[in-house]
C-alpha cells in the first residue's frame, strides 16, 4: 500500500457532520496560515466538533474561552507576544453568531485599538451548535428554529447584517469575503490578511448541510450557487475601498434557494413569488453595488 503523508494542521477524527463547510474552512485557514499561528476560537460548532477533551483536532496552538470574547482574548495574546518578542500570528476563527451578534462589543473594541490579528468568521448563517437559531447573518426568509416559517411567517424577517462594512468603517486595513467553494482564493485572502499589519477581517461562506437542509455532498455546489446568484459576493477591501470582486454570469436566485430546506416554504405548498422577488432584489442590489455582473451578449435568434 502506498505511503500517505499527513500535512494538515487541522487533523482527522473531528466530529463535524459529514460534508461540513465549517470543518473545511478550518482546514483551509490553518493550511494558509501555517504552523506559526495561534488560533482563537469562540463557542460554537467548530469548537465543539474539534475539541472534546482530550481529542483536539488542532495541531497549532489553539484557545477557546467563551462565546463572545474571542477578539478580546486575541487582543491579550497579541499584546503578550509583542512583549515576549514572539512572532506567531494570531488568527481568530469564530462563528457568525459569535461575530455578528454576541461578540460585537469585543470586536469593535479590538478593531478600534488596532491589534495585529486576523479575524475569520466562518459564516454558516445561524447558531448551529445550539440547534439552528437565527443570527444577524441569517439571510432573508431563511427558516430557522427561532425564525420558523409558518402560516403567517416566511422565516427570518431581516436581511444579513453588513459586517464587512462595519469593520471597514473601523479602519480595518484589509477586509475580505471568501467561500469554501474557491479554496485558492480563500487561502490567498487569509494569507493577505495575516500579512497585513493591523486588525483584518475575512468572512468565509461555509454552508452547513445539517442547518440548511441539503445532502453533504452538495456543500461546495451550494456555496458556488450562492456566488453565482449574487446572494454572496466575494470581494476584497483595502483601506475601505473595494479593490477586487468575483464576477459572475448571474443565475436567478431560485437556483440557489431551491437546493435548501430552509427556503422550501418559498416553493411549497405554493410558489411565493413576491418573496422570491424580494430575494432577487437583494441579489440585484448586491450585483449593482459590487459590479459583479459579466454581461453576456444576447444570443441571436
Amino acid at each position: 500500500m502506498a505511503e500517505k503523508k499527513t500535512c494538515d494542521l487541522f487533523d482527522c477524527g473531528h466530529r463535524a457532520c459529514g460534508g461540513c463547510g465549517a470543518a473545511l474552512s478550518a482546514r483551509l485557514v490553518t493550511e494558509a496560515a501555517g504552523p506559526e499561528t495561534i488560533v482563537v476560537a469562540s463557542t460554537g460548532c467548530m469548537e465543539v466538533f474539534s475539541t472534546p477533551y482530550p481529542e483536539t483536532a488542532w495541531k497549532v496552538p489553539w484557545i477557546h474561552s467563551l462565546f463572545e470574547n474571542a477578539a478580546a482574548v486575541a487582543s491579550g495574546i497579541e499584546a503578550a507576544l509583542k512583549k515576549q518578542g514572539r512572532k506567531e500570528k494570531v488568527v481568530i476563527m469564530a462563528g457568525d453568531g459569535a461575530t455578528f451578534d454576541i461578540g460585537m462589543i469585543c470586536i469593535s473594541g479590538a478593531f478600534e485599538r488596532g491589534h495585529d490579528f486576523t479575524y475569520i468568521c466562518y459564516d454558516n448563517e445561524a447558531y448551529m451548535n445550539t440547534g439552528i437559531q437565527r443570527s444577524g447573518a441569517t439571510p432573508y426568509d431563511a427558516s430557522t428554529t427561532t425564525s420558523p416559517a409558518g402560516k403567517v411567517s416566511f422565516g427570518n424577517k431581516r436581511p444579513k447584517k453588513d459586517m464587512p462594512a462595519i469593520l471597514a468603517a473601523h479602519g480595518a486595513p484589509y477586509v475580505a469575503t471568501a467561500s469554501i467553494a474557491y479554496p485558492a482564493d480563500l487561502m490567498q485572502k487569509v494569507q493577505k490578511a495575516i500579512n497585513t499589519p493591523g486588525p483584518c477581517y475575512v468572512q468565509v461562506h461555509a454552508p452547513c448541510c445539517t442547518g440548511w437542509g441539503f445532502e453533504g455532498e452538495q456543500t461546495i455546489a451550494i456555496a458556488k450557487l450562492a456566488i453565482e446568484t449574487g446572494l454572496w459576493v466575494n470581494f476584497e477591501m483595502v483601506d475601505g475601498t473595494v479593490t477586487k470582486v468575483k464576477k459572475v454570469v448571474r443565475k436567478p436566485v431560485t437556483e440557489y434557494l431551491k437546493t435548501q430546506k430552509r427556503f422550501r416554504h418559498l416553493f411549497k405548498p405554493k410558489l411565493q413569488e413576491a418573496e422570491i422577488a424580494h430575494i432577487q432584489a437583494i441579489a440585484d442590489k448586491n450585483a449593482e453595488k459590487y459590479g459583479i455582473d459579466i454581461k453576456v451578449p444576447p444570443k441571436k435568434e
Binding site: 482527522c12 473531528h14 482530550p54 483536539t56 455532498e217 461546495i220
Partner: protein
C-alpha cells in the same frame, strides 16, 4: 491517565476517534481516470485524502465519513460512491 491541568491537550488524540465508522457510502477512487489535480484532497472536510507515492490520491478510510464531496467535485468523475457493506 491523569487529567491535564485546565482541560488542555497536545495534538494527536483526535485520531483516536475513527470517524470512518460513520460512513454509509464509500468513495472508490479510479486511479486510471485521475488527472492528479488534487481537488479532492483540497475539498475533503476531513483532510483524509492523501497523495500516495504514485502521485494519485487515496482516502484514509479510517476517517472518511463518506460525505461524497470528493466524488461530487472531481472534475474527471474518477470517484464513485458505493454503498458500504457492513
Amino acid at each position: 491517565m491523569a487529567l491535564a491541568v485546565g482541560c488542555r491537550a497536545r495534538p494527536g488524540k483526535s485520531r483516536d476517534n475513527k470517524t470512518g465508522s460513520w460512513r454509509v457510502f464509500k468513495p472508490i477512487f479510479d486511479h486510471e481516470k485521475c488527472s492528479k489535480c488534487g481537488m479532492c484532497r483540497t475539498l475533503c472536510p476531513e483532510g483524509c485524502i492523501h497523495e500516495n507515492t504514485e502521485g494519485v490520491f487515496d482516502p484514509d478510510y479510517a476517517f472518511c465519513k463518506g460525505c461524497g464531496i470528493c466524488a461530487a467535485e472531481c472534475p474527471k468523475a474518477a470517484i464513485t460512491m458505493k454503498q458500504e457493506e457492513k
